[in-house]
Amino acid sequence: MAFLDIKNVRIAGIAAGVPKNIASNLHPEPEDNVSADYAPEDFVATTGVEERRISTTLCASDLCYGAAEKLIADLGWDKQEIEGILFVSQTPDYILPATACILQDRLGLSKECYATDMSIGCSGWLYGLSSLAALVSTGGIKKALLMVGDAKARVKGKRNPLFGSSGTVTALEYAEGAKGLQFHMGTDGSGFDAIITPDGGARNQITPESFNEYEFEGKMVHRLQSRMKGMDVFSFGITTAPKSIKKLAEHFGFDYQDADYLVLHQANMKMNDFIVKKLKFDTAKVPTSLRYFANTNGASIPVTIVTQLKDKLNGIAKFLCCGFGVGLSWGSLYFESDPEMVISQLVEMDDSETSAYVV
């Protein structure tokens, strides 16, 4: 049982960046890979995704960079004190080097900086947070930034109408005596192909045939694009998420119904509604960002906190969070935000924002 009790660390702040550009699922464009089986209104009603933020130019790291500048300013942090970056994404800038290295320099942080990437999907905020919090809790690193985001795809192709772009930053700070963060984490690699990008890794190298389109679950995709066994993932989500949350509460001895907010990975409305129903949790305490930001992969929990809870939090709030997806992989978290936790205004970035880190 992977239960983690990471003390002496606090979440100092959360920020999110998204492209300014909005795509509407009520008015899909030819490049949107919408199934022909459904009218746009039915698609929106079922998935809960009406709009999404997308960009043809902004990478996940650009959005994380914009969010980080905003959050560092809002926190009043001295950049020289930030000694760690963990970047979690399926859409890094390059295969090599790690995008976290680029972000260290781009943000003007000290070279005394621990920086690396983590490749995981919709459980990414939980995995990133547990890893970085564990480092910060040692006191060896006093301030660090977890960056989770996905944006511009690695290969051109039709756009999936369920997914939106974002780049988030969660600032962690060493705080002696702080109650910290409690996690339950899990993995089931037998479901490795439930969500998979088949080509482009060493197992299946890129060949000209990688670009050939084929039909998978009613959609045309190529082998450098991810594909999903929808029913398997749905079944996994509705069974695993409630169990993980219950295990977390049981292990750490609290009643999960007492949480002020249940923030779930924003997969789709049908799945989340069912998870909430199984937990018998009050729907008024379950914020969602699906309608206007779509499924933002590993970043969906911080995107939901920033866009839905920024003006509602005052004092201490009890958070229950659960992320689940590709791997298959999942994680649940309980933490109490303190009154000083900063939530920055959503950062909206123009397509013209450019990075100097281009070869």
Partner: protein
């Protein structure tokens, strides 16, 4: 596990198709209203009523409601 009850639960996932249409022998994918979304509802129903986690292939490889009932029974 009762077959008639399973058929009734299965029928509840459909909005427009009358419940009287459904029997154990019903080839459910031939019903006009059938869609992958109703497939998700069936998976959720089986999880809720029988605490069994179905795979997509369990649904795809079943032709009749009885086929699916037998799969659920085998996983109980």
């Amino acid at each position: 596990m009762d077959l008639n009850e399973f058929v009734a639960h299965f029928a509840e996932q459909f909005d427009e198709t009358d419940a009287s249409v459904f029997t154990p022998e019903t080839r459910f994918r031939e019903i006009d209203e059938w869609s992958s979304l109703i497939g998700l509802s069936v998976i959720a129903m089986v999880d809720e009523e029988y605490d069994v986690a179905l795979k997509g292939d369990d649904v795809k490889n079943s032709n009749t409601i009885l086929d699916l009932y037998n799969i659920v029974s085998s996983k109980l």
